[in-house]
């Protein structure tokens, strides 16, 4: 609220109306509906449903396949987050340092942001192709009998590499902008205080980047959980079979292929809670972030 707020009554209501009605119809209604149907068991033929309480949830935790997918999602998220953050950090530090060609590097390292995940996945299909993919040849040369879509780990590796590739630009952009917002004089003061570039990085630069890093951590976790859907769906060509998949993919499979409304809704609700927890965590970190500047 600004000090000199306008006092009209109907105008702000009219201004808020489009946003509020879209949210009501396409957010609150569906979300509420999901919560509700997660407590019901849908008749397979679509005639009515029975209230089953938490059964859909307990079924899930007892379901070993679901737990396996949940575990894969955790591993996948950790690896994608770790690799895309650390590669991007390394590149950002170097791009921030060089003088010659700095702009070209920046462009070359960020444009992939605009590539759609399924398009990335499609290129993955070609690169990791079981018979003709150069990545397959590469892994075979390393002595690994790489077989995408046949071998669980092979498929998982392709998921991770493509997902990391697609996520590096965002992290790179944020890290670079974080680095550039460190005052030049602070770095120079550090140069006078410390000869070792590596030590300077860990003592000064890295702590000053920590707020950006925490923020990106959340962004990357969200990305790995949700935005990789297009990559996974393309790589498995819509037929996951025994291949690894993430929780969101499972929601989709159960809801749209398996017609298990209750189970799928319960899974949605679990994901909602997960995101909620992450966001609360993020808000607490943002408070710290403001502290530095």
């Amino acid at each position: 609220m600004k000090r000199a707020g306008f006092t009209s009554v109907w105008l702000p209501v009219a201004l808020l109306l489009p946003q509020l009605s879209i949210i009501a119809i396409f957010f609150y209604w569906p979300a509420g509906w999901a919560v509700q149907s997660s407590f019901y068991l849908q008749d397979p033929f679509g005639f009515g449903s029975t209230f089953v309480g938490f059964e859909n949830y307990t079924d899930l935790t007892a379901n070993s396949e679901y737990m396996r997918i949940a575990w894969f999602t955790v591993v996948f998220t950790v690896l994608v987050t770790f690799f895309s953050l650390s590669i991007a950090l390394l590149l950002a530090v170097k791009a921030d340092k060089v003088i010659r060609g700095a702009k070209s590097y920046r462009t070359l390292l960020m444009w992939v942001y605009a590539v759609a995940p399924p398009v990335a996945g499609f290129m993955g299909i070609m690169l990791f192709h079981q018979h003709t993919g150069p990545m397959t040849d590469f892994f075979k040369a390393l002595g690994w009998d790489y077989k995408i879509l046949v071998d669980y780990n092979s498929t998982a590796t392709a998921f991770i590499i493509v997902s990391v590739w697609k996520q590096i630009p965002v992290n790179f952009i944020f890290f670079l902008s974080g680095l550039q917002s460190i005052p030049r004089a602070v770095r120079e003061a550090a140069m006078i205080d410390n000869r070792s570039g590596v030590r300077r990085f860990w003592d000064i630069t890295f702590p000053l980047l920590a707020p950006t890093g925490f923020f990106l951590l959340i962004i990357n976790i969200t990305y790995a959980l949700f935005d990789t859907f297009g990559i996974i769906d393309t790589l498995v060509k819509g037929e996951p079979g025994n291949n690894p998949m993430t929780l969101v993919y499972k929601v989709y499979m159960d809801g749209f292929r398996g017609n298990d409304l209750g189970g799928s809704s319960a899974q949605s609700v679990i994901l909602m809670v997960l995101v909620l927890v992450l966001t609360v965590f993020q808000f607490r970190l943002i408070e710290r972030r403001i502290h530095y500047s």
Binding site: K2, A4, F6, A31, W33, A114
Partner: protein
């Protein structure tokens, strides 16, 4: 001691830095370059040899077929139609989002509203849940509203999150108080102030958000896949998979060349926008989170 020109010992650090950056740039670039090179080969050749490392002779053929040859189950859709749909989705989403969120942010920041805090939380809770976690119920909602296979059903639910509103709210709050006060003294009402002062002031912000939203809309996949079963509404991103799958289903050699051509075309507009409006885009991205 007197020297006019200083001799410097050769420094290895920059060489190392550039090496890493070049490797990084290649890592990002090579897959797309290979996809482009491969898209210039015939389907038979790609099916046999996979990714190609030297350009072939089918470039024009693949791209013109991808763009102009009717395909799909119903043989009514070509690349041009998908391109049109992608543009409608990208532009519609970006414009809709900007207009709706600017209005809402304006109401929240510049008016004395009794239910302002409530409205704020109603709106910002939506930041918490991406569409992916509520696809199934959203799909149900669209079915009940009979909006499946319409542009409205495609675009509007995507707008139902507050990223833009949040962004503009932050920006409006950073606009000096004195501006609104001066405008009031000059006799400008709320509508005039918005149009004459706030919107022009927000130009850069609007441009930045527009680029991000356009790319976001253009690249949508899951939602279009669910909501458009009518091939006439397919977007490029949605269509690549379709072409690829119909090929598999037809038990013939997959039209890899065409599909790759389509993939290249699908990434071209957003990539070019991001490259050419780089500074706006980076600004929008890094400032939207504060």
């Amino acid at each position: 001691m007197a020297r006019s020109q200083t001799r410097k010992p050769f420094k290895w650090a920059p060489v190392f830095d550039h090496t890493i950056l070049i490797l990084g740039a290649l890592f990002m670039l090579v897959p797309v370059v290979l996809a482009f090179v491969t898209s210039s080969h015939s389907a038979v050749q790609i099916a046999r040899e996979g990714i190609m490392f030297v350009p072939g002779s089918h470039l024009g053929e693949n791209y013109s077929k991808a763009m102009f040859e009717k395909g799909g189950f119903t043989a009514t859709i070509d690349g041009m139609v998908m391109l049109k749909n992608s543009l409608i989705l990208g532009l519609g989403f970006a414009l809709g989002k900007i207009i709706i969120s600017m209005l809402a942010a304006y109401a929240l920041v510049y008016f004395r509203l009794r239910f302002a805090t409530f409205a704020f939380w109603i709106i910002f809770t939506t930041l918490l849940l991406p569409l992916e976690v509520r696809i199934l119920p959203s799909y149900e909602a669209i079915q009940r509203l009979d909006l499946a296979n319409t542009y409205t059903g495609l675009i509007v639910p995507l707008i139902a999150s507050a990223t833009g509103t949040f962004f503009f709210r932050q920006f409006f709050r950073s606009v000096p108080e004195e501006l609104a006060e001066a405008a009031r003294i000059d006799g400008a009402g709320p509508v005039k102030f918005f149009i004459d002062i706030l919107v022009p002031l927000s130009q850069t912000m609007i441009a930045a958000i527009f680029i991000i939203m356009f790319v976001f809309g253009w690249n949508q996949y899951l939602w279009p896949t669910l909501i458009t079963t009518d091939e006439g509404l397919f977007t490029l991103v949605r269509g690549i998979k379709q072409i690829y799958q119909t090929m598999i289903d037809a038990n013939s050699i997959p039209e890899y060349g065409q599909a790759l051509a389509l993939a290249i075309i699908a990434m071209l507009p957003p990539v070019l926008i991001v490259i050419f409006f780089q500074s706006w885009f980076v600004k929008g991205l890094t400032e939207s989170d504060k």
